[in-house]
Symmetry: C2
DNA sequence: CGAGGCCTTGACCGCGGTCAATGCCCGTGG
DNA sequence: CCACGGGCATTGACCGCGGTCAAGGCCTCG
């Protein structure tokens, strides 16, 4: 359980055993029920999650109640409502377990403490930021230049697990289209 | 000229005079003509720019030749094709001077050298990344939840300089709508 | 003074949304 | 174990936002 997180971290930065113990000591375990919310709209983002099993999603809700998903985190991935984390303002993003999910989480307070205690953690955070940046910017690009069908095909190429594992409703919310449209796209091939 | 950059940096990190001299020594000055491209499609991003005067934009071109603008950098702002910078892959993003523009730029080689030489520069980069992340994620959100008119009004609120200073064509490319639609939106108020 | 680019506007169209009906699957409780 | 209910997927009918294309006028700059 913690080994999964430890080996994830070791792939990104080099730390010795005592440092690793320090890092792991800041993380706590939690089981989440399907559909359980871990961050509500307007709350400040307080925790960073690492998924052991299951799936978290980060999403928006507009005034009419329509949901749009910005990110899915599966096993062995981190998830944070980063904008609220960075700006320390109330979050526009919500966060929810999509399946029964097990996570390790660290409070933002302790996250920042690690930044001070371990120079290496600054690098870890930087690389996390870089990945998050590349992800979102690629998504932004796809909204600029691709129509619905192209986005769907692209998703099948780049991230098939999302289509295979999740409901149409969730996939549609990720692509920013309606469930009905996704259903028609799939029918047409 | 260099003072502008120096005071920008001092607002973000604390460095002494020798360190500042080191940083500034890596930047070079360049004048750009209106419409001059500083990064072509498919090139690797090689430089980070700081705008002294004028305006740079970072944009995409789709297969039909339609342009979409991801970012405008005005006086006293940085601009990089960050995705290509991070991934070291050919850039999907192009970069161009929108007006006659004066910049200071640093090669990525030297940027990385600074990361090694100055621990503080790691923090500078991290904060740059954070800002870029927040920017793009907010834009992504606006594509999820806002229609054309809402996006336009929001832009007027958040970033009026773009509307005031740039042509309709450029503003439309920033909003991801056609020039004709923007013209109609403005007419309707 | 001419040419080219930009803005506006009208006519038209199509992608993708909405709404509703139907059917399916699955979880839950009697 | 079966019956019921709720959520999800599919599909048809309809519609509207925003795109495209083209024409006309204006401004800028060489």
């Amino acid at each position: 359980m913690e080994e999964l997180l430890a080996s994830y971290i070791k792939n990104v930065i080099s730390v010795n055993d005592t440092e690793m113990q320090l890092i792991l000591s800041f993380f706590k375990f939690k089981k989440l029920k399907k559909n359980e919310l871990v961050l509500h709209h307007g709350e400040a983002s307080q925790r960073t999650f690492f998924v052991i099993k299951g799936c978290l999603r980060i999403f928006y809700i507009d005034e009419q109640g329509v949901e749009s998903t910005r990110y899915f985190a599966f096993e062995n991935q981190f998830a944070t409502a980063l904008v609220s984390f960075i700006t320390a303002k109330p979050s526009e993003e919500l966060m929810q377990a999509v399946e029964p999910t097990e996570v390790l989480y660290i409070s933002h307070e302790n996250f920042y403490r690690l930044l001070e205690l371990l120079p290496q953690w600054e690098k870890f955070y930087r690389i996390y930021l870089e990945n998050a940046y590349v992800n979102n910017t690629n998504r932004l690009q796809s909204f600029f230049v691709q129509d619905a069908l192209t986005k769907y095909r692209y998703l099948l190429e780049e991230n098939p697990i999302i289509v295979q594992r999740l409901s149409n409703k969730l996939v549609a919310s990720y692509l920013g289209i309606s469930q009905a449209t996704l259903s028609r796209l799939k029918a047409k091939k």
